[in-house]
């Protein structure tokens, strides 16, 4: 009885209060959602990501990379949302105050749009590698897993993606 109680205790102790997970990873997950979906839909995707994570949280295996786990959920939510928006014309009425204020709060909203357009123009693997490596701060191994390729391929895709973005912006600077 005592041994069992102790074992349960040690197993549970590795999971910190979920609030700590939101505080530590919330900003990175938000960057990923904004890069994947734009400011208007990012708020929904962020909330849904953390809601799904909260539901599954007590069963999370100790030692899992929480950041990679959250980004995987966000990735799936974004894919779902993009499919949804492709079918429906514009579901902008979902969370009016949150998304509207968020979209309006940026000092240079055009920069976000410009970058997003440049990101969207990248081949899928490069775009994913740039977002998951630099905005989510995942390791190349984790990025590779998300993109169903190797760590080496992920590293190359990220480098190629950044090179394309650099070219895009130096071109923009000259014109």
């Amino acid at each position: 009885m005592t041994v069992f109680a102790l074992m349960t205790r040690t197993r549970d102790v590795v999971l910190p209060p979920f609030e700590e997970i939101v505080a530590e990873h919330g900003p990175a997950v938000m960057r990923v959602c904004r890069a994947l979906l734009g400011p208007a839909d990012a708020a929904d995707a962020w909330s849904e990501t953390f809601l799904s994570a909260l539901e599954a949280y007590p069963k999370l295996r100790p030692g899992s990379s929480i950041r990679a786990w959250l980004v995987t959920i966000a990735h799936r939510k974004a894919v779902d949302q993009l499919r949804g928006t492709a079918r429906r014309p514009q579901p902008a009425g979902d969370l009016p105050d949150i998304s509207a204020t968020d979209a309006a709060s940026g000092e240079e909203p055009s920069m976000d749009d410009d970058l997003r357009a440049a990101l969207d123009a990248l081949p899928a693997k490069q775009r994913g590698a740039v977002i998951y490596r630099y905005l989510a701060d995942l390791s190349y191994a984790e990025v590779g897993e998300l993109l169903e390729s190797s760590a080496t391929a992920a590293r190359r895709s990220a480098a190629d993606g950044i090179a394309s973005l650099r070219k895009h912006f130096s071109k923009g600077a000259r014109t």
């Binding site: 919330g26 904004r34 990012a42 105050d97 968020d102 905005l135």
Partner: protein
């Protein structure tokens, strides 16, 4: 533009507001979690003359009140393992408790009417806490009296231990239990806090 500048530009332009615990997105998440029954423990802090207090509640009611000397982070980690790690900072669920504590410290409230959850206490300790709830404002009892009232007159030490491990101090008034010789005895928030509470209640 260097790679570093590109990356900085990416991280700054995709940063989102409102994800910190006071932000709109965080409150929205907490509201969704509560609606879907996924919020097992919510918490907030409240200022008091005894320092910053941590209040935590389950769906049942107030489950923990912690003084700052207890280390709030450690208390939350303990709640994660003892109750559930589904814990979010959600001030709204605890507004009533915070408000009643304010009134209590201002000398304007003599009894608390917020629901409480005693799941962190078991057996004799729990009987002690249930008895403590019936000690009126401004009245003190000895540990021996409390032991007797909780059903075990010889368990004076155990009664004292139940008081000093009370998970919901203030609201479950363990500060109203003193030694038979009239000295204040131990208190989770420190002996000075206990004396201050007894003084507050005798002044009103």
């Amino acid at each position: 533009m260097t790679d570093k500048q590109i990356i900085d530009r990416l991280t700054s332009s995709f940063a989102g507001a409102g994800v910190d615990s006071d932000g709109r997105l965080h409150s929205h998440l907490a509201a969704l979690a509560e609606r879907q029954g996924l919020l097992d423990v919510s918490y907030r802090t409240v200022d008091s003359p005894l320092g910053l207090l941590l209040l935590a509640a389950t769906g049942e009611g107030l489950v923990r009140v912690a003084f700052s000397c207890e280390d709030h982070d450690a208390v939350l980690a303990r709640l994660a393992s003892d109750i559930s790690p589904r814990i979010l900072r959600t001030p709204r669920r605890l507004d009533d408790a915070a408000h009643q504590l304010d009134e209590y410290f201002a000398g304007k409230r003599r009894a608390f009417s917020v629901p409480i959850d005693l799941q962190l206490s078991h057996g004799f300790r729990r009987s002690v806490l249930e008895h403590l709830r019936r000690i009126p404002y401004g009245v003190t009892q000895s540990y021996a009296t409390v032991a007797r009232a909780a059903g075990n007159p010889s368990a004076v030490r155990a009664a004292a231990s139940a008081c000093s491990h009370n998970p919901i101090p203030l609201v479950v008034p363990c500060h109203r239990v003193v030694r038979s010789d009239g000295t204040t005895g131990e208190y989770l928030g420190g002996p000075e806090a206990k004396r201050a509470l007894l003084a507050l209640e005798s002044a009103a």
